[in-house]
Amino acid sequence: MTTHAMKLVTIVCEAYAKAVVTKLLRDIGAHGYTLFAVEGDGSRGRREADIPEFTNIQVEVIVPPEVATALLTRLEKEFFPCYGMIAFESDVRVLRPNKF
């Protein structure tokens, strides 16, 4: 078993951004993503998870380092000004590097 370094980019954002964020992921070359509804609190106030349109989602995507950089760059420039969201990257190790 050999593991390979990849980046996990996690995005927590308002549910309204779901369509544009997942489209961005496809455009930037991610091969998949994982997504679920979450409650949250932040600078834009509490976001309860009772109306799908008013809730938060957490999106997790594993990508090679250069794609992570491209993704974060576009998020910062195009999405942060409009949407309530946070994004961060962390180091992970995967088994099948060409899957991501």
Partner: protein
């Protein structure tokens, strides 16, 4: 006198009282809230029930009686943003994109307000055209598209940051969950007719009022959470959120009379014109005009106009209709 009685009757109905209870839950920071799937389940139920009933009604009277007032509803929905926009832009000194966004919300409609109105009419034994649901169905999208166009013209930004294209907004407005369910159930109802109705009546009709009451509890919670933002939107939007519905409501009633509706149907067209969308419009606007400030359009439609219509508006629009028809 009479109108006060009517308002009081409405205020003491289970639906409105549960809505008030929801407001109180939000204000007292009770941890009460409906889980998302319950909210969604209730929405699906209400939209299908009202759509199905409307479809059965269309099957009975025939499309011939429905198309003209339905067209009037569509036109009205598309026009409302055109006078709402300047009021907001110049009267309220709002930015162009915010004015366009709010205009889209007030031209579009609130299904729950419509459902509450049909409930109210039924409770006071005021007959109405059941096929009025068709107006609800066709009136959701046009204003959203007009509002998006207004906003796009006003901002003229490019790139991802300018939000989804008009085409995407159109897809959202035409194939979004609520409109799909409503139109779909309408068609199913029209194909089934009375025979189908008999089968599903004990589920979609008999318990309907109780389900609505339950749902309005959650809507009260959701609206109540926004009450804190009333300070942020300022007195102009507060007045706007009450006066505009009255104007649009009267207009809707009048359009209804012009196109041959009875008193009940005209009232419902008034309610639709007066109501503001808080689910479909925000979803489309957030995607297409991401620069517009959601606090403004959500607070005015959800925390001002929606509670106003549910409590006082509905009896008032009926009263206006009564005046016009007498």
């Amino acid at each position: 006198m009479e109108i006060l009685d009517a308002i009081q009757a409405n205020l003491l109905s289970p639906a409105v009282l549960f809505f008030a209870l929801g407001l109180i839950a939000a204000l007292t920071k009770s941890d009460l809230k409906f889980p998302e799937p319950l909210y969604l389940g209730l929405t699906i139920y209400l939209l299908i029930a009202i759509g199905f009933k409307g479809g059965v009604a269309i099957a009975e009277v025939g499309l011939g009686k429905v198309w003209l007032p339905a067209l009037a509803a569509m036109v009205l929905g598309a026009l409302i943003p055109l006078w709402t926009y300047p009021v907001l832009r110049f009267g309220g000194k709002l930015s162009a994109v915010d004015a366009a966004a709010i205009a889209a919300h007030y031209g579009s409609v609130s299904a729950v307000t419509f459902i509450a109105a049909t409930n109210y009419l039924k409770a006071i034994n005021q007959p109405f055209e059941s096929y009025a649901t068709a107006f609800l169905a066709v009136m959701e999208s046009p204003a959203i598209l007009v509002g998006v166009v207004l906003g796009k013209l006003a901002t003229k930004k490019s790139g991802e940051a300018s939000g989804a294209s008009l085409k995407q907004a159109m897809h959202e407005a035409l194939f979004g969950r609520s409109i799909f369910l409503l139109v779909g159930a309408l068609v199913v109802g029209a194909l089934c007719g009375e025979a189908g109705m008999k089968k599903v009546e004990p589920f979609f009709v008999t318990p309907f009022q109780g389900v609505l009451a339950l749902f309005l509890l959650e809507m009260g919670i959701v609206a109540g959470r926004r009450l804190g933002d009333l300070r942020k939107v300022g007195p102009f939007l507060l007045a706007f959120g009450i006066i505009l519905p009255l104007v649009n409501g009267a207009l809707g009633v009048w359009f209804g009379k012009l196109t041959g509706l009875e008193l009940g149907g005209a009232t419902l067209l008034g309610v639709l014109s007066a109501s503001a969308s808080y689910i479909a419009a925000p979803a489309a606007i957030r995607m297409s005009l991401p620069d517009a400030n959601p606090t403004l359009y959500l607070t005015s439609s959800l925390a001002i106009t929606f509670p106003f219509n549910i409590t006082l508006g509905i009896p008032l629009y009926l009263e206006i209709a009564r005046k016009l028809y007498s």
